[in-house]
Symmetry: C2
Subunit: 323 residues, 2 copies
């Protein structure tokens, strides 16, 4: 009796619905218990040709779709609790769906974030994957974007700009001879590493936080605008991978593209000075490097980016924009 | 400093984010307090050309996108708590977005279901609106699809088949001379009436429930399959609107299309015999007619549809399928 959609769901997605609240994907809704925690809700969608390439492996598309949401949860200090999936497909292509579901299932298990429900629809246009993910924080403890204060350190995790370089390679805008470096950059574009290991440290120490998805420069400007503050950034302190640094030395990549390119999925946060050491230690314990790149200052002006001579760098572009 | 997406959100959608947990749509995530309730989560997406027509008024597209989710919440016995929205647009067309946001805001207010967050992305394909909606029920009291029992009455709210006839008119497959009847049917297709007024009665009295979105026949079959039961339906008891009945008398519409056409957004439920009177009274108090159309019986066979002579009707098609 089941329609094509139902058998598609039963075959590919039911194995991912390991949480009792998912009701085996046989109901119209799922159950999420609140209890003493707040539920943190975040939504991010990927569109073929915009957020991923049509020839990206289905496993990596699935992982990216979930991970960009896990990145938001981590930046809010939340522990993953589950997700719902809307999948818009042109047709039921087993050769695409099977590895997609496999990649999604692997990450759902690895990050403790089971599938709770969703909807599958047909489209004549690009594939689209929209995920709404849920996390938990003790009541009232979600770290917001709008609460940075003058005097806080501006801190970022990992390295910045790798994914934008990976995309430049994949779209033929840049050639990289170093095979291992090339793979690293493409991997950073295709499979972000959500900093879930930093969530507890963010919740314990950060005053404000967000994830870097649209470009560090633009996202910092958003954090400052939301908080009613400004910032002064030491461009030389922005953490770069060895391969990104090398490409800049060769003149193949430039700093502005690195800080405005997006897809980093690192955590950007404002840490009170007296918490910085503890935050750095907690991050090291989690095996994740963090770097202090400047400070929050009073004012409503856009953040200022300074070079090693103390001169301001003018950034002509801050982030990726859809429209 | 804001990108095109941010100003679009600030202009059109921030006014809809009236819940404190939405943080004015300036954060990466929203906060949903659980407390003593369970959170009921449901997801439904609309695709242009599939779930709505490209020339449908933007207000009605917005209302339909939210209402199909509110319909799920009502069928689960849940009270609306809020929603997140993923909007895939080809471009920022103010003439479309302004009435879309207006229609969405009107319904968010009318149904007490505020916007909590979302994502706006660009697509080269059909417009797509994906909504994940949240409702609350006292812990453990969500009404499921899989719990119908032999002896229960099969009950449906409102009238069945009107939306399918409305779509037939809009796509030129049917001509209706009666102007008022025509408008009624088109209205039922474009703006479903989620039966939120029945949610408490469903929670108080129903053993199992779901909303009718893909066609009564197919959805009943799903409810029976999930519950491990069958059903016997009296086709003559299926509630029809006056105009649908008239079109069937004229031979312009047929019964099978009415019960397999979808887009009804009525509530289908299994009510224990000793609760039927109380359920009917509660529905009448809410101003919503409900009709008993048959009974749940033991067995694993598909539900049987009987005509007035007690003969079985063979339905060749049960519901809409995307694939």
């Amino acid at each position: 009796m089941s329609s094509g959609e139902d058998s598609l769901i039963a075959r590919y997605f039911k194995p991912l619905a390991t949480d009792p609240g998912a009701l085996g994907l046989t109901d119209d809704a799922a159950i999420l218990s609140g209890g003493a925690d707040d539920i943190v809700v975040t939504t991010d969608a990927l569109v073929e040709g915009v957020h991923f390439l049509g020839n990206d492996p289905p496993e990596t598309v699935a992982k990216k779709a979930l991970r960009v949401n896990l990145s938001d949860l981590a930046a809010k200090g939340a522990t993953p609790a589950g997700f719902v999936l809307t999948l818009a497909l042109r047709n039921v292509d087993e050769a695409w769906l099977a590895p997609f579901a496999h990649g999604l299932g692997d990450d759902a298990t690895a990050f403790g974030c089971p599938l709770l429900g969703g909807d599958t629809v047909s489209t004549s246009g690009p594939l689209m994957i929209s995920i709404t993910a849920f996390g938990r924080v003790p009541r009232g403890s979600m770290i917001r974007r709008a609460s940075a204060q003058p005097g806080d350190r501006v801190v970022v995790s990992g390295t910045i700009g790798d994914a934008a370089l990976g995309l430049a390679i994949l779209t033929g805008r840049m050639a990289v001879n170093d095979g291992a470096g090339r793979d690293t950059l493409i991997g950073r574009y295709r499979i972000p590493q959500p900093r879930v290991g930093l969530a507890n440290a963010v919740r314990a120490h950060a005053r404000a936080a967000m994830d870097v998805s649209d470009g560090l420069a633009g996202d910092l400007a958003k954090l400052c605008a939301a908080s009613g503050v400004s910032a002064v950034i030491d461009a030389g302190s922005v953490p770069l991978s060895a391969v990104a640094h090398e490409l800049m030395m060769q003149g193949k990549a430039n700093f502005e593209a690195a800080v405005s390119g997006g897809d980093d999925y690192e955590i950007l946060c404002a840490i009170p000075e007296d918490r910085f050491e503890a935050f750095t230690r907690a991050a090291a314990d989690a095996g994740l490097p963090v770097a202090s790149i400047g400070g929050i200052v009073a004012g409503a002006a856009p953040p200022r980016w300074m070079n090693e001579k103390g001169e301001e760098i003018a950034l002509s572009r801050l982030s990726y924009s859809h429209f």
